[in-house]
């Protein structure tokens, strides 16, 4: 297993490099222009000067190597410096990955936004799993019961109604009519006491619920299908014939086995938490990573788009490995050698 993990990690390095090249090529070759969003009154000569100042007109190879150098050398060095408080020689001249639109280091902005994305998207994911697993298991155990029918209906609705619709509906119901929850997320809120905690919970309620609805729907269908599969297996009949209680049969035998694919699914979706929920963040003004990426794409901000998408790509690769390894740990039938 250890060997397998190391081998996978090593092969991931060229994969990640190829990914970085492809992302860079796609973003760079797309006809976006960092000066494209500027007011129309700005003449072409001025635009040209701005592009030159940004280095946007440099040849592809120069820009790519610059980015590699900034991302893989300058950023880690800077990270070490700030966390350990030491200074390497040449620290003054080191250029970090700088956003064209904000003129600030991209990594700092990501770090600034990570908390709200993790809070909102992370907790909705956590809640989603918490609700989805019992619902899915019970639905499967009592297949075609009223609970299953209602659950299936609710999950289909959650699955098929887009978040921009549920989000808007929630705002109209809870903000406009009932005035219970704020529709504008305050990212500067710091939780220090009970009152600010209440405020935080209130502002999280709508975006988290909207996202939870969606995650729950997806996850519970998966759990239900997997549990149904296992409940029909021979070993369940054997367990029952041994005289075990229903509780033990379902919880210890069926559910444990059913959750193996669900766990890997959960692991595979974790990078999505970091990516944020593009639309939901936009609707409630959570202004996390997802909204940052959207703004960067619209503004033709190549260093930002490149860096953010690349970080996602790395997370996806890593969690793929995690999922595979987990599978091997959870399911003794699977061996890697």
């Amino acid at each position: 297993m250890g060997k397998y993990t190391i081998r996978r990690l090593l092969t991931a390095i060229p994969t990640i490099l190829v990914i970085s090249f492809i992302i860079f090529a796609v973003v760079d070759l797309s006809p976006s222009d960092p000066t494209g969003n500027l007011p129309l009154t700005i003449p072409p000569e001025v635009r040209q000067k701005i592009r030159e100042a940004l280095g946007a007109d440099d040849p592809f190879a120069v820009k790519y190597v610059k980015w590699l150098q900034q991302f893989f050398i300058a950023e880690p060095l800077n990270f070490i410096e700030t966390t350990l408080g030491i200074t390497f020689p040449g620290s003054e001249d080191r250029v970090r990955v700088i956003s064209w639109a904000t003129r600030g280091p991209v990594i700092d902005i990501i770090a600034e936004r990570l908390p709200q994305t993790l809070w909102v998207v992370g907790s909705s994911y956590f809640l989603g799993v918490l609700i989805a697993v019992p619902v899915g298991v019970y639905s499967a155990y009592r297949q075609y019961s009223i609970f299953d029918q209602v659950g299936t209906f609710a999950m289909m609705v959650g699955f098929s109604v887009p978040t921009f619709f549920t989000g808007l509906m929630f705002i109209v119901i809870f903000s406009v009519n009932l005035k219970w929850f704020p529709s504008v997320y305050d990212t500067t809120l710091v939780v220090t006491d009970i009152e600010s905690l209440q405020q935080q919970l209130r502002q999280m309620f709508m975006p988290v619920t909207v996202l939870t609805l969606y995650t729950t729907a997806q996850m519970s269908r998966y759990t239900r299908a997997s549990t149904l599969d296992n409940l029909q297996q021979d070993y369940i009949r054997t367990a029952r014939s041994k005289g075990l209680t229903e509780r033990t049969v379902v919880m210890r035998h069926a559910v444990r086995n059913s959750l193996i694919p669900v766990v890997t699914l959960i692991a595979l979706q974790i990078p999505g938490i970091f990516a944020g929920a593009l639309i939901t963040e936009q609707i409630f003004r959570v202004n996390g990573i997802g909204q940052y990426l959207i703004i960067a794409i619209q503004g033709g901000d190549l260093p930002t788009v490149q860096t953010v998408t690349f970080i996602f790509a790395v997370l996806v690769v890593i969690f793929n490995i995690v999922a595979d390894v987990l599978y091997g740990i959870l399911d003794p039938r699977v061996t890697y050698s």
Partner: protein, 569 residues
């Protein structure tokens, strides 16, 4: 299972009870929503209104444009003119004097050096300044003493109010930005918290998200600003921003709501706030083709000839276009189709208000009988009984095009009806906006090719000074195959008299004379059948909470230009 569910229910109920407190606003904080978020606060590097406006709370120029388009001194003592000696006789330099005792929010003194530096910052070739236009024709900026600055131009500049005027060109602190000039501007961290002279000081800046400000203790006006904090939240979309002010009351002000006025009017009914419309210069008008758009002419279709040989067969006849104008009920178009977004007009130049001509208001009242009489008296009658009048044997049939858009098609339908009432038949066309306003030389359907008799669209001046806008109808601007149909004079109007007025304007600095000239040019345009103005359109909409007093809409400046004077009612 059951306990879990009931736990969840209890949690939800607890949340609801917490929520019962409602969405309260703090009285001493003004909450501003921009659905585009500010990336930084350096206007010289700004990407759009979001950066310029965010900076306008902190940074101030020497003078701003007031709501009426006239300059209001901010950091300057007075507006320099030729009359007060601030602008040199030969119009090549302008001298500004700073107010006495100005200090930055950090307590240091504002000096002429800061002004000079602001100019250098933008004009440095490697800075990549986005508002470099404001510094057109600037030769040098020099400090004469602690409080006096002179801007020298390369030639006579009748309107020398580009540099250091308006929120696009404020004064930044030399001590703070000195290390950021030129190529270093790319990584300028100072742009996130500029030190300024304005009513608010940046407290915390979060890129593309939210900016919190506190009141500037050193602000030069006693007792201002009334709010001790300001929050500038970005992101989301225009509609939800409007909702947050008008329906949920979470914010005090929502900027530039580019959504249908009908939607805004409906939201306004919740009674928490009002929609503020800003009228700049946009006028919806009918352009009258001065040349012959007959398809039979082939390559000469709608092409202006210097010898006047290809004129329109009947639209240059005064009685005809005047009757067409008289037959239109502008009040109905404005009130029924535009609502809060437009008012009827008979002029092509309406903003700033000083430039609006008082001479053409007669057309505001529809006069169908008068229109018929005008045509009858000119001998233009329906001689063959088909319901369409003839002029010298040519039936009055016009084609009328515009872009595809519900309001425009409804306007077309109304106008067609009114014209048919006076015996003029209209064929309507509408073309997708991307094609109609697009620059495709191969397409016959662009507004600039103008292959119909009449076309309708909106245009206006991009700056408070109308000289550039009025320059559109210069003879040399006539849209023509020779300039790839790229001129501003789409109606293909030719007038020596007009060109003379334009020439005079380009050498006149005196504001009163400029106003006279602008009004004269407007009158020439609307009294010679070049255009039939219909509706003066609002160019910006914003939402303002009822609990805020002192807001004055200003289409020429940052909408937050007078935030120091806002109060909580």
């Amino acid at each position: 299972m059951k306990t879990k569910l009931s736990l969840l229910l209890i949690l939800l109920m607890a949340l609801a009870s917490v929520a019962g407190i409602g969405v309260a606003q703090e009285d001493d904080t003004v909450n501003i929503l921009f659905w585009q978020a500010a990336s930084h606060m350096n206007p010289y590097l700004g990407n759009g209104d979001k950066e310029f406006s965010a900076a306008s709370l902190t940074l101030e120029p020497l003078a701003r444009y007031g709501p009426d388009g006239a300059l209001v001194p901010f950091l300057a003592e007075a507006i320099p003119t030729v009359a007060n000696g601030g602008v040199s006789e030969d119009l090549t330099s302008i001298t500004w004097t700073l107010k006495e005792g100005l200090i930055w929010s950090d307590g240091s003194a504002v000096t002429a050096d800061d002004v000079v530096f602001s100019g250098e910052f933008c004009m440095h070739p490697e800075t990549g300044c986005t508002v470099l236009n404001n510094f057109n024709d600037v030769e040098s900026v020099e400090a004469l003493d602690e409080r006096t600055v002179r801007v020298n131009f390369t030639g006579p500049k009748p309107v020398p109010y580009g540099p250091f005027v308006s929120y696009l060109s404020p004064i930044i602190q030399k001590a703070q930005f000195e290390s950021c000039i030129g190529a270093a501007a790319l990584e300028c961290q100072e742009s996130f918290r500029p030190i300024g002279t304005g009513p608010f000081v940046v407290d915390e800046f979060r890129t593309n998200d939210v900016i919190t400000y506190t009141a500037n203790p050193n602000y030069r006006v006693e007792g201002q600003p009334a709010f001790s904090r300001a929050v500038f939240k970005g992101g989301g979309d225009a509609e939800s921003a409007a909702r947050a002010v008008l329906e949920t009351g979470e914010a005090d002000y929502a900027w530039n709501l580019q959504i249908s006025p009908a939607v805004l009017t409906a939201m306004q009914e919740a009674g928490l706030g009002t929609v503020q419309a800003g009228y700049a210069t946009s006028v919806e008008r009918l352009m009258i083709n001065q040349t012959n758009p007959d398809p039979a002419l082939g390559d000469d279709r709608s092409v202006w000839m210097a010898d006047g040989s290809n004129g329109h067969p009947f639209l240059q006849v005064d009685a005809i276009w005047m009757a067409m104008s008289k037959a239109i009920d502008r009040n109905i178009i404005a009130s029924q189709l535009y609502g809060i977004a437009g008012v009827p007009t008979c002029n092509i130049l309406l903003g700033p208000a000083i430039y609006a001509s008082p001479n053409n208001d007669a057309c505001l009242d529809q006069d169908v009988e008068g229109a018929k009489a005008l045509l009858d008296d000119a001998g233009i009658v329906d001689s063959d009984g088909d319901g369409v009048r003839e002029y010298m044997g040519i039936p009055l049939r016009v084609s009328y095009q515009t872009s595809t858009n519900a309001v425009r098609q409804n306007t077309q339908a109304l106008v067609k009806q009114w014209w048919s009432d006076i015996g003029i038949e209209t064929e309507l066309r509408n073309i997708d906006a991307a094609v109609f306003f697009g620059g495709d030389i191969a397409s016959p359907d662009t507004y600039s090719k103008f292959y119909t008799d009449i076309e309708m669209y909106t245009n206006g001046s991009s700056s408070p000074d109308p000289e550039v806008y009025l320059g559109n109808w210069r003879t040399t601007e006539i849209t023509h195959p020779d300039n790839s149909w790229n001129g501003g004079n789409v109606a293909r109007w030719y007038s020596e008299e007009y060109d003379v007025l334009l020439d005079e304007m380009s050498q006149t600095a005196d504001l009163d004379r400029r106003v006279e000239l602008a009004i004269a040019m407007n009158d020439l345009l609307v009294q010679n059948g070049v255009m039939i103005p219909l509706v003066y359109r609002a160019s910006v909409f914003s939402a303002l909470a009822n609990t805020v007093d002192g807001f004055i809409m200003n289409p020429w400046e940052s909408e937050l230009w007078n935030i120091a004077e806002w109060t909580r009612s």
